[in-house]
């Protein structure tokens, strides 16, 4: 297996994943930068993905659709926030409607990818951070937050 470690941090809603591939940085980068390759690994075999637009530049977007076993179609959208070919990439991944507009109530995850050479192969380090939508953030920052944070923090501590 190529996955070296996975660390899931429930408090910070972050997953850190390290994978080592027996391939060059260029080859691994191509899995991200070539839409035809990207769509072959992004969706599981049960929900194949199709990349519709692909602009891997800062401010650019990648749109894709995934079709489920019952023919249900889900749209997704990346917004590229930083890119340094062929070693790093940062984007947000959100659910979108059929017009490619992010769906407000759905969560957004921020993904950072870092490729480095290691023992003749390539190490891919990824951080996946979940964020609630902006509106939710706003709602939660209206003073209710502290109470909620405190209460749930205590619940969590008690249930550990």
């Amino acid at each position: 297996l190529s996955i070296t470690s996975v660390d899931t941090d429930y408090d910070n809603l972050t997953i850190t994943l390290v994978a080592d591939f027996d391939a060059s940085i260029q080859q691994v980068w191509k899995l991200w930068s070539d839409p035809r390759k990207l769509e072959r690994w992004w969706g599981p075999p049960t929900d194949p993905a199709r990349v519709e637009t692909h602009d891997l530049s800062p401010g650019g977007e990648v749109t894709y659709r995934m079709t489920g076993p019952e023919g249900d179609v889900h749209h997704g959208l990346w917004r590229i926030t930083a890119v340094r070919s062929p070693t790093s990439l940062e984007f947000t991944d959100a659910f979108a409607d059929e017009h490619g507009t992010p769906i407000a109530d759905m969560p957004v995850s921020t993904v950072t990818v870092q490729l480095t050479e290691r023992d003749g192969g390539t190490r891919m380090e990824m951080r996946l951070m979940l964020e609630s939508r902006e509106d939710m953030e706003r709602l939660l920052s209206t003073g209710v937050v502290d109470g909620l944070r405190q209460a749930v923090g205590q619940m969590d501590a008690l249930l550990k």
Binding site: R40, M136, L159
Partner: protein, 133 residues
């Protein structure tokens, strides 16, 4: 994790905005948070809870009702008493979606790995280096 729980309640459990409002309202009060804390470790009766706060039995009962409506506590009748317990599922469910995301990415990395192996096999243009005949 609080953020996480809200996310889960909304997405995983398909909770409506109104239900989230109820949850936020329930948690926005010091006494109710304290009740939650007490009921997470023990299972006190409403009357025992009432003795812990400088307020009437009716007022405490009202707080418990708000928590119950938000799905944060459950009540159980035992004899003449009503026992209150914090619903631990609200917290444990919160972990589920992150686990799912992890599984998703494990699958993706496996597929990336397969694609890279495929790319190095002697087929197609990769293996045909050098000049032409």
């Amino acid at each position: 994790v609080w953020k996480w729980i809200i996310y889960n309640l909304m997405v995983v459990d398909d909770l409506s905005n109104r239900a989230v409002d109820e949850l936020l309202h329930a948690l926005a009060d010091t006494t109710r948070r304290d009740i939650l804390r007490r009921c997470a470790t023990g299972q006190p009766s409403v009357s025992r809870l009432a003795r812990a706060y400088p307020m009437s039995f009716a007022a405490v009962q009202k707080h418990v009702a708000v928590l119950e409506r938000a799905g944060l506590v459950t009540k159980e009748r035992r004899g003449r008493e009503q026992l209150v317990r914090t619903d631990a599922r609200a917290v444990s469910r919160a972990r589920q979606a992150l686990d799912e995301l992890e599984a998703t990415w494990r699958g993706r990395v496996d597929r990336m790995s397969d694609l890279l192996v495929e790319g190095t096999e002697p087929e197609g243009k990769n293996s045909r280096m050098g000049g032409t005949g």
